[in-house]
């Protein structure tokens, strides 16, 4: 086998780089029909059977997929990542993927690779789409005029990929050779002067070709200017002075900056090539394609938002309808596993931990897997078809008012914008946002949405205290979550995250039919991430919560006291009545029923005392002086503290804390009735609790995700403290005002 060859894949966004990367390396990188999917580079290895040679030979290749860019000037992170990789890693071959149906714009980037001098091969992708659009490209002629090999391919099917690599291997030994493009008399003269200064002082020549540096100085490339200052400030000052003179002269004489003239000449160079018979159009070039016609309807100012609401509602309906049965199956499965564990394991703390901590805790999270999976499938369809980019386009108008970006809409929806999502994938979805401040504002406010775990709690409290107008209250609380999230975003964007709005300049991908393989990969990858992350963390938290609510347990003297009470309760009854009351039969005699009630009351008292003396109970009691301001007693505090781990825990903890024993989320009536009877609960407390639960600190998994996505634990801690303070102030205000109004 020959020595390993390093190749890099470059090109415009959505040109098909990641698709070709996956085809060649067999990787499963995420390819979305949404710009900006690749913001970092990824590497993959593969062995290529070289068929160009008479003697067959296997060639090992390391391929790097670089972010999509429109130019090599540092306007965005992607451009910096791509350029720095090329000049520092110096790959032996650069494969430039060019969209054949959009040749002129794509070749703009190619001209800059020619100027950089890297060994270049052009992969002319989507030749099938170009053909359908009546665009005919003479490949040999294009290769001859550009002076680089050109290989037609269809990245989606892999057609032509092998021939492309055959040709690329032949370039591997070629040295880096920059090419000159003329920028007109004025600029060419200025470039020559700059090159002289650069060459005399060996200014950045170890990284960039002299002409490339000169052009980047004329283009006022911030990153190169800064590098120049750091490398040799005296030469940098000379170059900057010269460039200022040229810029002033061009502004006076041509009313244009050098970069505009450079761009004009680059397009002139491309046009001169294409007009030499390289590209011919069979159809009228002005014609609108199906994709444009669909856009005229789907982005219409009146029809567009209406269709968008319908599509999003459809996604919500699909997710909940399709996942209903699998969720029920999983619930039964975990119930069955729990019953088996109960009957097989001997009584004791291990059994209690496995049943209450592991099975119930894991079951609560894994039971959501089908719902999460169908939601991701729906989102993958929207994303791969290209509709998601249009949703961002339409929502930008509203989100901009609150200092957010059009691309913030999907994280909001995924997090529970249409009640029932999950903040974990929502937080991860913020990756599509470019501006760090807009991304941070989105990241910190998406947990305000009503996720699937909050919905049962909201339903329980509304059902218990506002049973006459359930639907209206549910709708109002959903609207409230949106309002609060957007207002909180506005607050953040005008205080700690102040900064200008990012221009929403985005290339909308054409509508495409999503492939089954692509949908399956995307759905499974994201679902697996959820299972892996949520599953492992929740397992730990469940065990921890179980321990906190179980230990240190009741002192022996108190336990003996309860045992004595039980014996005293049993003593007046005959042994037959006692054994009847302990049987599992539902229909029992009146005496047995009375004994059951008495024993249950003692057990409830014992559980309450045990809970009070547990670590969680002590925390709840310690928090009571403050939480009373919002109307919460110590038992509610335990549930709320439990909710910090996972919101799913709130209902079951409330049940335990109110000595209800095991309470299922669905069987909310009994807990609801208990709460309505409790002197500590009333309508005002219910509203206050609802507000606090909706807006306080995100669950632990979300916090971990925020820390990971923000790259700093400080933001995660900020999210916990900001949300909790905000929620508490709001809840306390509601409670106090409500109490005053009676």
């Amino acid at each position: 086998m020959n020595q390993n060859i390093r190749m890099a894949l470059v090109g415009n966004p959505n040109a098909g780089k990641t698709t070709l990367f996956n085809t060649l390396t067999g990787a499963r990188q995420h390819v979305g029909n949404y710009p900006g999917i690749t913001v970092d580079y990824k590497e993959g290895d593969f062995t290529h059977k070289n068929q160009g040679n008479i003697q067959e030979d296997n060639q090992r290749i390391t391929l790097t997929d670089l972010p999509g860019t429109y130019s090599l000037t540092a306007y965005s992170v992607e451009e910096v990542v791509t350029r720095e990789y090329l000049v520092n890693a110096k790959p032996q071959v650069v494969i430039n993927i060019v969209d054949a149906s959009n040749l002129e714009r794509n070749l703009y980037l190619s001209t800059q690779f020619l100027e950089l001098g890297c060994p270049l091969i052009i992969a002319l992708n989507m030749v099938d789409v170009a053909k359908d659009r009546g665009i005919e490209i003479k490949v040999e002629k294009l290769a001859e005029l550009l002076g680089v090999p050109v290989a037609p391919i269809i990245a989606r099917s892999g057609q032509g990929a092998s021939a492309l690599i055959d040709q690329a291997i032949m370039l591997a030994e070629k040295p880096w050779q920059p090419r000159d493009i003329s920028y007109g008399e004025d600029l060419d003269a200025a470039i020559m002067e700059l090159i002289t200064i650069i060459s005399e002082n060996n200014f950045l020549t170890h990284t960039y070709p002299a002409r490339f540096t000169a052009i980047k100085y004329l283009e006022h490339d911030d990153q190169i200017l800064q590098k120049g200052q750091e490398d040799d400030s005296a030469t940098a000052a000379r170059l900057e002075e010269k460039v200022t003179q040229v810029s002033d002269h061009l502004l006076k004489t041509m009313d244009a900056y050098p970069e505009a003239i450079i761009a004009d000449h680059r397009y002139g160079f491309i046009k001169s090539i294409l007009r030499q018979g390289v590209q011919t159009h069979t159809f009228d070039t002005d014609r609108l394609y199906t994709s444009d016609k669909i856009d005229k309807v789907l982005t219409n100012r009146l029809l567009g938002p209406a269709i968008m609401l319908l599509v999003l509602f459809g996604l919500y309906q699909f997710t909940f309808t399709a996942s209903e049965l699998p969720v029920a199956w999983l619930e039964s499965l975990f119930g069955l596993i729990g019953d088996q564990a109960k009957s097989l394991l001997p009584d004791g703390p291990v059994k209690s931990m496995i049943v209450s901590g592991v099975i119930n805790g894991m079951g609560g999270v894994l039971g959501f897997v089908p719902l999460i999976m169908f939601m991701f499938l729906g989102i993958a369809v929207l994303e791969d078809s290209g509709y998601l980019a249009r949703v961002a386009f339409m929502m930008d108008r509203i989100f901009r008012i609150f200092g957010l970006h059009g691309s913030s809409v999907m994280p909001f929806i995924v997090s529970g914008g249409i009640a029932g999502g999950c903040a974990v994938p929502g937080v991860m979805a913020t990756r599509t946002l470019r501006s760090p401040k807009e991304r941070m504002a989105t990241l910190l406010t998406v947990p305000f949405m009503n996720c699937g775990a909050k919905v049962p709690v909201i339903a329980l409290l509304i059902g218990a205290f506002f049973s006459d107008h359930k639907a209206i209250y549910m709708f109002l609380f959903t609207m409230l979550s949106w309002m609060v999230a957007l207002l909180a975003a506005k607050l953040l964007r005008t205080t700690v995250l102040r900064g200008p709005a990012t221009p929403f300049v985005m290339e909308l991908p054409p509508y495409r039919f999503p492939t089954l393989r692509g949908l399956a990969i995307h759905t499974w990858e994201r679902t697996w991430q959820y299972i892996k992350k949520a599953g492992t963390v929740i397992l730990g938290i469940s065990i921890l919560l179980w321990a906190m609510m179980t230990y240190p347990g009741l002192p022996a003297a108190k336990m003996a006291g309860f045992e004595q009470q039980r014996r005293a309760a049993i003593s007046p009854f005959a042994s037959e009545i006692v054994s009847e009351s302990q049987s599992e039969k539902e229909e029992v005699s009146e005496s047995a029923r009375t004994l059951r009630r008495q024993l249950a009351a003692i057990n409830d008292q014992e559980s309450e005392q045990a809970l009070r003396s547990s670590i969680a109970g002590r925390i709840g009691i310690a928090l009571e002086p403050v939480s009373r301001l919002a109307g919460f007693d110590w038992r509610t505090n335990i549930a709320l503290v439990g909710g910090l781990a996972a919101k799913e825990v709130i209902i079951s903890t409330l049940g335990t804390a109110y000595s209800m024993g095991k309470v299922e989320a669905d069987a909310s009536d009994s807990l609801g009735q208990r709460l309505t009877r409790d002197p500590n609960w009333n309508k005002v407390v219910a509203v206050s609790a609802l507000i606090f639960i909706m807006f306080y600190a995100p669950c632990f998994v979300t916090v971990v995700c925020i820390a990971r996505e923000a790259g700093h634990w400080g933001w995660a801690l900020f999210s916990i403290s900001f949300n909790t303070t905000f929620a508490f102030l709001l809840a306390a205000a509601v409670y106090q005002i409500g109490r005053l109004l009676g």
């Binding site: 714009r105 004009d264 856009d295 005229k296 108008r397 929403f504 909308l508």
Partner: protein
């Protein structure tokens, strides 16, 4: 009320409705893209404003002399342009710096 008065009132109401719904007439002159109110072909005359914006637009294919199709005119925030086979979404901060005329 005479038939004539009724007719006049109805016509007046119809005009008011039409004025609310229909888009104003765009004269054939150089104006910012943000003022373009009808779909159709337009020609880019100049890209003004920040030099970074000019260069960024050029790299996206929006440069003087280029003819593009306005698919969705701006309605407060964004507009959609079709150029050389690609669809670009531009916000108002960008479109007010792009001077265009009818092609």
């Amino acid at each position: 009320m005479t038939f004539k008065t009724l007719h006049q009132k109805c016509a007046c109401l119809a005009d008011k409705v039409k004025n609310c719904v229909r888009q104003p007439y765009c004269p054939k002159q150089i104006a910012p893209l943000s003022d373009s109110c009808r779909s159709g072909r337009i020609k880019i005359c100049k890209v003004t404003g920040d030099r970074k914006l000019c260069a960024r637009m050029a790299s996206l294919g929006v440069y003087p002399g280029e003819e593009v199709e306005l698919i969705c005119p701006e309605n407060g925030s964004q507009c959609l342009l079709k150029l050389q086979g690609a669809t670009l979404s531009l916000d108002s901060n960008t479109t007010k710096n792009i001077l265009v005329t009818k092609a």
